[in-house]
């Protein structure tokens, strides 16, 4: 009897801590997505050149990979998350302007945005409802992601539209796997830092949105 009480007493704080990480992650994620939308709108308004995307993505990645982990446990980490997501949103501006100028562009952007939201919410709900442990996906997803990056390097020089479409489709599937993996890590206590959890989920949403935009742009005959 005492052992049962002890088990409950040990599990309760752990579940509370997990819920807190999850709640903080979703709160910070929603704020950073709104902030990204704002910086993207500013970038569109300023009519930034296409190279802005490349500079912002490289800058954002360097900050996220090398600077953020050092400050993840301090309040400065939240500021860096906003800096990274703001930069990535700002980089999206020229791409969104290009799509918006196409005849069906508004529809493509709206569908990509809505589609990204449905995919993220659907997969998150799936993990939260089933509480399945997707830690077994880690190696598979990382290797898949590296292979896609190699294919992307090759396609920069080959410039094959069908390959570009294939890469975008595979990126969406791999990023979907990362949503399952990251959310599962949060609910099973594998990720206890909501700043790092937020940036991981933000990156997957960002990549799904860009890939969906590209697929819908090409398939809509507007690219």
């Amino acid at each position: 009897m005492n052992r049962n009480f002890s088990t409950v007493a040990q599990r309760a704080p752990s579940a509370l801590a997990t819920n807190k990480v999850l709640r903080n992650t979703y709160m910070l994620l929603s704020m950073t997505l709104l902030f990204s939308g704002l910086t993207a709108a500013i970038s569109m308004y300023m009519n930034m050149p296409p190279m802005t995307y490349l500079i912002c993505v490289i800058g954002g990645m360097v900050l996220a990979m090398f600077v953020l982990p050092r400050f993840a446990n301090s309040p400065a980490g939240i500021g860096i998350v906003f800096l990274v997501t703001g930069m990535l949103g700002f980089g999206l501006g020229p791409m969104l302007s290009m799509y918006a100028s196409l005849p069906n562009g508004g529809n493509v952007i709206t569908l990509a945005l809505g589609g990204t939201g449905v995919i993220f919410l659907g997969l998150s709900a799936y993990v939260l409802a089933t509480r399945k442990d997707f830690s077994f996906l880690g190696g598979f997803l990382m290797v898949g992601f590296l292979l896609v990056l190699m294919a992307a390097v090759a396609n920069i020089f080959l410039a094959i539209p069908a390959m570009s479409l294939m890469i975008s489709a595979v990126v969406i599937l791999i990023m979907s796997g990362f949503i399952l993996y990251d959310t599962s890590r949060i609910i099973h206590g594998g990720e206890t830092n909501y700043v790092l959890a937020t940036i991981g989920l933000y990156m997957t949403i960002f990549n799904i949105f860009i890939s969906l935009l590209q697929i819908l742009g090409i398939m809509g005959g507007d690219d």
């Binding site: 296409p50 190279m51 490349l54 993505v57 490289i58 990645m61 990979m65 069906n104 529809n107 493509v108 569908l111 589609g115 449905v118 995919i119 659907g122 997969l123 799936y126 089933t130 399945k132 997707f134 830690s135 077994f136 996906l137 880690g138 190696g139 598979f140 990382m142 290797v143 992601f145 590296l146 990056l149 190699m150 992307a152 390097v153 920069i156 020089f157 489709a169 969406i172 599937l173 979907s176 796997g177 399952l180 969906l212 697929i215 819908l216 398939m219 809509g220």
Partner: protein, 59 residues
């Protein structure tokens, strides 16, 4: 070949080099999934493929 393509390729290659050790570690240390685990991954993936096909129909 314009400099933006070269710069993009270099950035991607650098990214691959940085991620490679992490991918190797994750491959070695990831737990093995059972067929039921893989099935629980395959179901949402199939749903996403169908959803993307649906979105393409809407464009």
């Amino acid at each position: 070949m314009d400099w933006m393509k070269i710069f993009s390729a270099l950035a991607l290659i650098m990214f691959i080099v940085i991620l490679f050790p992490r991918a190797r570690d994750m491959m070695k240390n990831s737990p093995k999934g059972t067929s039921s685990d893989w099935m629980s991954f395959a179901i949402p993936v199939v749903m996403i493929v169908l959803f993307i096909m649906f979105l393409i129909q809407l464009v």
